[in-house]
């Protein structure tokens, strides 16, 4: 009875939700145009960009596609037909309470028995930053302008990645008792782990802002672009966690392997060294690293006080959604075998 009631409610609000989504889309797109300003109009050599000239045309085209898809969804839900998007929305509506509870649990359980508790989310990046700052400013005499902020962006993003993937990795295996006893959509476990790390991620933004204030970084409207980089990173981490958690069910070696890989990943990402020390001929290889794009995007916004070039947005989106698509595919293929192998 309860479930039916809910489903009806979701159906009623679907067209409204679509309208809200479309409105939000156009508002964001317009806002983006003004925030980005010249970055969309000229490239770094001052030549006009086609992207800037046809910006609203492109926005309208995507808006139209989005509207058509929304119409299809509404149509499907009226006709009672099944569609991937509709299933995803229904699953979200039905399980968002569980998701919320799991995120809260992961977050609460983490600091439950420590004295400083939630303060650690804030202290951790700060202390790491201080240690690394002392080490690297003495060792390398780096010529990066505003090294503190440069370093902190890298640390905050990378520790989120490392925490989220490490927690996500164990998410299926450590919930064995649940998975074998109750029916719950399994993707909810890796997703909830990543989201609870994302809360940490948000809190660790505070030391970053403090460092920006102390080092007198000029604040401009471009700071409003920050959520784009953050969301892309979260999406990427969800994708990675989906892959890792399903691999972990079949091969427990992954947890040890992942320790080594994530260390390698840390050194392969320009966190504490400038991009310029990377060998030029290996650059294409380094650009395959999704984290490189997210961190570069964020640093550009904060340190330059301006929007990066349009290509950077595209690269970030690819770097986020391709791993997500792979993750969803792998997870879907293997999830029915989890119970048998866990």
């Amino acid at each position: 009875m309860k479930a039916e009631h809910k489903a009806k409610k979701a159906k009623l609000t679907l067209p409204a939700a679509c309208l809200v989504l479309l409105t939000l889309y156009f508002i964001t797109a317009t806002a983006l145009y003004f925030i980005a300003g010249d970055a969309f109009q000229y490239n770094n050599l001052g030549k006009p960009l086609l992207f800037g000239r046809y910006y609203f045309l492109i926005v309208a085209a995507f808006g139209l596609l989005l509207a058509l898809y929304c119409m299809r969804l509404v149509h499907c839900s009226k006709a009672g037909a099944r569609s991937l998007g509709l299933n995803a929305i229904n699953a979200f509506v039905n399980y968002r309470f569980l998701l919320k509870q799991l995120v809260l649990r992961d977050f609460k359980a983490k600091y439950k028995r420590s004295v400083l508790g939630i303060l650690w989310s804030f202290l951790n990046p700060l202390l790491t930053m201080i240690v690394q700052y002392i080490v690297f400013s003495m060792l390398f005499k780096s010529d990066i302008p505003n090294f503190v902020v440069y370093l902190l962006v890298g640390i905050v993003f990378f520790s989120f990645f490392s925490e989220a993937t490490n927690m996500g990795l164990m998410s299926i295996v450590s919930n064995t008792s649940l998975i074998t006893k109750v029916y719950v959509p399994k993707y909810i476990f890796p997703v909830s782990r990543v989201l609870s790390s994302a809360i940490n991620f948000m809190i660790s933004m505070i030391p970053l802002f403090m460092a920006m204030l102390i080092t007198r970084v000029k604040l401009s409207v471009s700071i409003l672009l920050l959520p784009f980089g953050i969301i892309c990173t979260i999406v990427f981490c969800i994708g990675m966690s989906l892959i890792l958690s399903s691999a972990m069910v079949f091969f427990r070696d992954i947890q040890f392997l992942w320790n080594v890989i994530s260390m390698l990943w840390m050194y392969a990402t320009p966190i504490f060294y400038p991009e310029s020390i990377l060998p030029q001929h290996l650059m294409p290889l380094f650009k395959l690293n999704p984290l490189y794009h997210f961190i570069r995007f964020t640093r550009f916004i904060i340190l330059n006080g301006a929007s990066p070039e349009p290509k950077a947005y595209l690269l970030c989106m690819i770097a986020a959604f391709v791993p997500l698509a792979i993750g969803v595919f792998v997870f879907k293929k293997t999830q029915d075998k989890f119970v048998l192998n866990i």
Partner: protein
Amino acid sequence: MIKVENVSMKFLIMHDRIRSLKEYTVALLKRRLKYEEFWALRNVSFEVRRGEVMGIIGRNGAGKSTLLKIISGILKPTEGKVKTGGNIVPMLELGSGFDLDLTGRENIFLNGAILGYSEDFLKSKYDEIVEFAELEKFIDVPIRNYSSGMLMRLAFSIATVVNPEILIVDEILAVGDEAFQAKSKARMMELMGGGTTVLFVSHNIEQIRELCNRVIWLDEGRIKMIGDKNEVCNAYRTVNICPQ
């Protein structure tokens, strides 16, 4: 309403459980990757009508729990289909998903969410759950400090607060001290008698006779007999004679 159509479940049993890449490669190279097929269920079909209480009996390893897990959606059958209408509350094990570090209050919401209850529902039933579990004094204490009886009381109260359309029960759960056992048994009877569709597994033939309308007898993954409770129970008794 539950409709089970030609359900078969195959398990692959590996003689050495391979859990690491190294072991896998070694086994593959030695050509020792052998699996043994085991059919836990074969061609099981039956239908439970709305409001009917269906008992399942059979010896250990007959496939009863596998069948319940398939109907609850935890396992996906190798072949065949299961159709269910309505929300299912599986009571296969109580308190799965409890987090020892969280308080009783927090666990009520966590465990309730896992069982598929909505937030509004849990908020409205919260007092009822606490009262039934008799844990008013300890509800804000981390459940790490609960006794095992208190844990089971809390788990039972959360699981049975809802009136599901389909209830799946693996043995009648009588938990806690004597007074609470009586109370929980009464609650189970109330749930099972209240017009819900029930699938009920038990080794207690007397309980099956008392509660069910019809009974399925599973033997080595196949339905050996299905029908009226007295017929099936009598037939089962004659085959599986107890020494006493």
